[in-house]
């Protein structure tokens, strides 16, 4: 019933993207830019169409998604747990916060050669890289959220018979959740950056590798198609994430 207007509203919202694609199309049809710089949209789409029917493409996509998914999952679970633990136990805070402060501003791409040196060119080095590179925004969000847990809520739980451990799970964790999930969204965006750049540099598989491989081989149409695929994946991952977060936090409405 509301899908008609909602669809129209969605279309309207993404009109600038349609406009941009149109601009792209016109740029090449009217020879405004050389096709060596920007291949025509139509040839990009048609080589993209050819590409998605190959097993190779899906193999690369699958391995990228596995690496990104695993790395991100570890970053969210371990990073979130660390942030909450830092808020709840002083000793953990004293040990961890200088480390967090030092590593937070470090450009995480600097870890690409290091994780490759440790774990090679396969999945493990990418998972470790994404885990390390994406965990701090989650940790900091979880920490701030948990620190902000209302004292009277903690006291209420305690006086209703909850142990300290239960209070941590039942009050501090949900209090941390809104900011933790915000950090996780940042982590999601970071994970795409790290994934693609590390695959372009040190991998034999994955969408980033495919971009580099196609580019080196001069197959620019297909290269642009893969870039579009990565952009679309990032966009959908973010939308799905937002819907998930909204559902988890529905009590706030």
């Amino acid at each position: 019933m509301r899908s008609g207007p909602a669809f129209a509203a969605g279309l309207f919202r993404y009109l600038p993207i349609v406009f941009l694609l149109l601009l792209w199309h016109m740029a090449s049809t009217f020879h405004l830019v050389s096709t060596a710089v920007l291949p025509p949209l139509s040839s990009v789409l048609s080589s993209g169409y050819d590409l998605v029917s190959t097993a190779e493409f899906w193999d690369n996509t699958g391995s990228s998604m596995y690496r990104g998914g695993m790395g991100l999952l570890l970053a969210i679970v371990i990073g979130g747990a660390l942030g909450i633990a830092m808020a709840w136990w002083k000793p953990i805070r004293y040990v961890s916060s200088p480390l967090v402060e030092i590593f937070y501003p470090l450009p995480k791409s600097a870890l690409i050669p290091i994780t490759a040196l440790w774990l090679g060119f396969g999945d493990a080095s990418k998972i470790l890289l994404i885990f390390l590179g994406c965990m701090l925004p989650v940790t900091i969000g979880a920490f701030n959220g948990a620190r902000g847990a209302e004292q009277t809520l903690i006291w209420s739980a305690r006086s209703l018979g909850a142990s300290r451990w239960r209070t941590l799970l039942d009050v501090v964790v949900p209090s941390a959740l809104p900011e933790l999930l915000n950090g996780a969204r940042t982590a999601l965006a970071l994970s795409f950056i790290l994934l693609v750049s590390s695959e372009m540099i040190v991998a034999r598989k994955g969408l980033g590798y495919l971009i580099g491989f196609l580019g080196d081989g001069g197959n620019y149409d297909a290269m642009f198609a893969v870039v579009l695929v990565v952009a679309a994946l990032g966009f959908f991952a973010d939308r799905v994430y937002l819907a998930f977060a909204r559902r988890v936090l529905r009590w706030r409405e």
Binding site: E150, T152, L153, W155, S156, A157, R158, S159, L160, G161, A162, R166, D170, V171, P174, L177, W251, R252, E253
Partner: protein, 277 residues
């Protein structure tokens, strides 16, 4: 007159024989991470009888909440002791339920889940938990809102939910920290009447913190007046009104009592203001 009142306070009032809570020379100092220590309550001794309704009255900032949090076991005790039924208070426990001014409901839980929370900690059978939760939701008049989240309720309804959550675990002692302070005048009056009705039906020991003299006189059997910070017990006044009388608050005896206690509090309120300036 003041000294006679104080003597009685020292003796622990008429309820001494029936004492349930004994606060003995309790002080509390806050030590903030930044800034200087704050002596919030100083050398407070007070005895509360079983099933007594005691109001703790004083200007804001005098240490009422601090004293209540001490009773709740939420703050460490450095000087002095608190015993409940002869046992030293050493932490929070379900024998002492608490209701906060700003409700402190779990915002991610529905009304039912909030009320169930304490029951789930008691290892009751699930069906019994649900029955008790419903009983107290009905008692406070929240039937039909079981599945609402706190953000969907009015202030009065939130406080009803918080009261139901606390009463559901049947604590012997009910600690209330300005529970109606955040409500509009009409709702506040309604809630006061309902609290008295609940207390009459199943009397518990109630320590009710307020800065509202009329509220204290209307609800309590005894009023402990606290001095400006650092809080001390300045006077204890026994009350003996028939709360079933619908015209009570307009009777001369009631109005006079409010005036008398107001005189005691006013001096402290002025001091508290001066202390802030």
């Amino acid at each position: 007159m003041d000294s006679a009142v104080l003597d009685r306070a020292a003796a622990g009032g008429a309820q001494a024989a029936n004492a349930q809570i004994v606060i003995d020379r309790l002080s509390h100092t806050y030590r903030p991470a930044h800034g200087r220590p704050v002596l919030a309550i100083d050398d407070v001794s007070l005895t509360v009888g079983r099933r007594e309704f005691l109001a703790l009255l004083g200007p804001s900032g005098c240490g009422k909440s601090t004293l209540l949090y001490q009773l709740g076991g939420f703050l460490p005790t450095e000087t002095g002791t608190i015993t409940v039924d002869g046992k030293k208070v050493q932490g929070p426990g379900p024998d002492r339920g608490i209701v906060f001014q700003h409700f402190a409901l779990f915002p991610w839980k529905t009304v039912r889940a909030n009320v169930m929370y304490g029951l789930q900690r008691m290892s009751l059978p699930k069906a019994e938990q649900e029955r008790r939760a419903q009983e107290f939701i009905d008692l406070v008049g929240l039937s039909g809102f079981e599945d609402s989240y706190p953000s969907q309720l009015s202030g009065g309804m939130k406080q009803r939910c918080a009261i139901a959550r606390t009463l559901a675990i049947d604590p012997e002692i009910l600690l209330m920290d300005e529970p109606f302070g955040a409500l509009d005048a009409q709702t506040r009056h309604l809630m006061q009447t309902e609290l008295l009705a609940i207390w009459n039906r199943s009397p518990k020991t109630v320590i009710f913190v307020t800065h509202d003299v009329q509220e204290a006189v209307y609800l309590a059997q005894r009023v402990a007046v606290m001095s400006a910070r650092p809080g001390r017990i300045k006077a204890i006044i026994d009350l003996d009104f028939d709360r079933r009388d619908p015209h009570l608050t307009k009777s001369k005896a009631f109005v006079d009592k409010v005036d008398e206690i107001w005189e005691l509090v006013r001096g402290e309120a002025i001091k508290a203001q001066a202390g802030k300036a």
